[in-house]
Amino acid sequence: MSRSHLVVVGASIAGVTAAESARIAGFDGRITLVGAEAHPPYTRPALSKALLRGHQSAETVRLPPTDAEAETRPGVTATALDAERRRVGLSDGEWIEYSELVIATGARARTLGDLPGTSKNGPCAERTLRSLDDALALRQAMRSATSALIIGGGFVGTEVASACVEAGLRTEVLTLKSRLVPQLGDDLAELVTQRALAAGLRLTRVDGPLEVPAGQQELRLVCSSAGRKEADIVLTAVGDDPNLEWLAHTVITRDRGIVVDGHCAAAPHIFAVGDVARVRTGQGVAARTPFWNAALDQARVAGEAVARGHAATPYQPRPYFWTEAFGLTITIAGPIPAAGRLETLAGGLAVGAGVFRWDGGQGATVATVNHRLPIRKLRALTSSLA
């Protein structure tokens, strides 16, 4: 090959950031950005928040155009990898050669059919929330619906439930846990749950798998240990699975994610970043971290490594994320779920506003609730123990 060619598969925040970071680090070859969706790259976190509540339009979730001078291939997926000949097969039949490859194919929403033990009787379309099209369709459906049933009480389920309650829908969440967003830790999960119940959400704990009765074109009815549940809108929000299938029978190590080293390299000349990646550390292989900031940081590392190889700064996890639901905006930095003794740095948990710190065994976690604090200051509070 006469000139180097970076191919990035996946055009969401991780892919776009990897392309741009490679450029900034001095990569001067061609860049091609392959994206499965027809939409130009957009920001996903807003889909279950402002977009769903009608506060933001489809145009405003777009990512600013990249400066990477990349050729874009929208509406095309990668279907095969030939690492020996350094080329990627695309859904339109073409093979494109690369000198370096970044895999940022992300994850897809899990459905009930993916869960062990669920009996799904016959084909039945399930509504999930992952893409811009999913969010626009859900928002449209919310306009004519009177009831919503959300399966799963994690971040997506809770944010959607909040938007449904706000839109005046009779809303119920089915969850395996006693509280919403248990990932936040007991103190914050309890706060969110109390606010949700006060806003009129019905929270129902189920144990054991769900059953999807036969004869449904679109999922409207499920049977659970808590009885039959039916609603105009049923949304499945039970996590995500990495998009790995196209890498079967390749050199890539796949184990519920693409296993990468500290430079986000999965194999020579191949990097993986974002929701699809698992980083090998001194302690083993970390779980996937399907959060905005992890995707950004990994993409920056891989982009730099594309240009500079092992001289690039290795990846250091810096957990940070945010959620908005039931009138609470929460940002959190440090290990989750937050555990240990709660220390109030400002405000109070009882009034639902302030800054809070937990001194867990693996370092401090700091969170804000309805309190503006830039990420720089939040991070500083995780390391400056009083």
Binding site: I24, P64, P65, D67, W322, I375
Partner: protein
């Protein structure tokens, strides 16, 4: 390159400041929006400006050429 803020959109997360510290500055306290240190972005700060705009969780930052 021109940089501006969509009125009422900034929520003070500060990811822009982390990605582009030469262009964005968050106030130390209070509920003020991010401060844009430049609005006519010179070429040497374009990387900072676009990196910061891209990471905004609420897409509050507008860039135009």
């Amino acid at each position: 390159m021109k940089l501006s803020l969509q009125a009422g959109r900034c929520e003070g997360y500060g990811l822009c400041e982390e990605a582009g510290p030469r262009v964005y500055r968050l106030p130390e306290t209070g509920n003020e929006d991010v401060e844009l240190l430049v609005t006519d972005v010179p070429p040497e700060l374009e990387d900072d400006a676009s990196a910061g705009a891209r990471v905004c969780p609420v897409a509050a930052i507008l860039l135009s050429r």
